[in-house]
C-alpha cells in the first residue's frame, strides 16, 4: 500500500499521573510503527514527548492527578508535529524561548535536562497559551 500521500492527525490524552505516561509512549510507538518510522526517529519522538509530558505533570499540574494531558500527533511524510497541551501553570518564557544550556555534567545534576533535550532533538519548538490552555509544539523532520 502506498502511504506516500497520507496524512494523519491523531489525538491522545491521559490523566496527569506519571504512571500513565508509559501508555502514551506505547500509543506513540504503535503509531510510529504503523507509519514505518525508523527506530531512531521513533526513539527521539518518544523521548521528546515523554520529557514534555513529564514537565506538564510535574510543573504545570504540580503532580496533581485528575487533569488532562493532551498529545496531538500530526504526521505527514515530511515531518511529525507533536502538540502537548495542558490547562495548568504556564511555562516560564526562559524555558522554551531560547536554546537551553544543558546542566553542567561536572556538577552532577539530578534534573533540569527536559527542555534542553527537546531543544536538541526537535527541528522547531513553539509554545503558546490561549483560552484552551498551554501548547508546546514540537516538530521533527523525517526527510
Amino acid at each position: 500500500m502506498d502511504m506516500q500521500y497520507q496524512e494523519y492527525n491523531i489525538r491522545l490524552s491521559i490523566d496527569s499521573r506519571l504512571e500513565q505516561v508509559r501508555v502514551l509512549s506505547g500509543a506513540l510507538r504503535g503509531i510510529g510503527q504503523e507509519l514505518s518510522l525508523s527506530a531512531e526517529q521513533l526513539g527521539q519522538l518518544e523521548l521528546m514527548m515523554v520529557e514534555a509530558v513529564n514537565n506538564v505533570i510535574e510543573h504545570a499540574y504540580q503532580m496533581q492527578g485528575g487533569n488532562d494531558v493532551h498529545v496531538r500527533v500530526e504526521y505527514s511524510p515530511q515531518e511529525v508535529h507533536l502538540v502537548i497541551s495542558d490547562r495548568g501553570h504556564t511555562m516560564p518564557d526562559e524555558l522554551h524561548s531560547t536554546t537551553r544550556d544543558m546542566p553542567d555534567p561536572e556538577g552532577l545534576p539530578e534534573g533540569g535536562w527536559g527542555m534542553g533535550l527537546i531543544h536538541l532533538l526537535a527541528d522547531s519548538i513553539r509554545y503558546s497559551s490561549d483560552a484552551k490552555g498551554n501548547h508546546l509544539h514540537v516538530s521533527k523532520q523525517l526527510v
Partner: protein, 112 residues
C-alpha cells in the same frame, strides 16, 4: 520494577529486566540500588541492556546513586544502546558515568 541481582567476585551485577525506565519507576529503582549500597555492596554494575527507553528522571536517579557511591565503590552502567545511549550523550552525562558496552566489559573495567 523488575531487577535481578547476582554477585560475581566482589561485584554486584544488577540487571534491569524491563524495557522502560521512566519517571514513574525512577524512585523505585533508586531505592533498590540504594539498599544494595546500604548492605555494603558498593561495587555495582548496572546492566541496562534490556532497556529500550529511558527518560531524564531516570538519569537523575542514576546520578543520585552515583553520588551515594562516591569514592567508596563503583557504579558502572553497562549495555546502553539506541536512544538510551543517546540520552547519556545528549546530556553529556556519558562523561561522568563509567559506561561499558556490556557486563563483561564493565567487569574488565572495574577490575583493572
Amino acid at each position: 520494577m523488575k531487577l535481578s541481582i547476582r554477585t560475581e567476585g566482589e561485584f554486584t551485577i544488577a540487571t534491569i529486566e524491563e524495557a522502560r525506565m521512566d519517571a514513574a519507576v525512577a524512585p523505585e529503582l533508586k531505592n533498590h540500588i540504594a539498599q544494595l549500597l546500604t548492605d555494603g555492596k558498593t561495587r555495582i554494575v548496572l546492566d541496562i541492556s534490556a532497556v529500550t527507553f529511558m527518560d531524564s528522571s531516570s538519569l537523575g536517579a542514576l546520578v543520585s546513586l552515583l553520588k551515594m557511591v562516591g569514592n567508596r565503590g563503583d557504579l558502572v552502567i553497562a549495555g546502553a544502546k539506541g536512544i538510551v545511549a543517546d540520552l547519556f550523550k545528549l546530556t553529556r552525562m556519558d562523561r561522568v558515568f563509567r559506561m561499558a558496552a556490556d557486563v563483561d566489559a564493565a567487569l574488565g573495567m572495574v577490575a583493572a
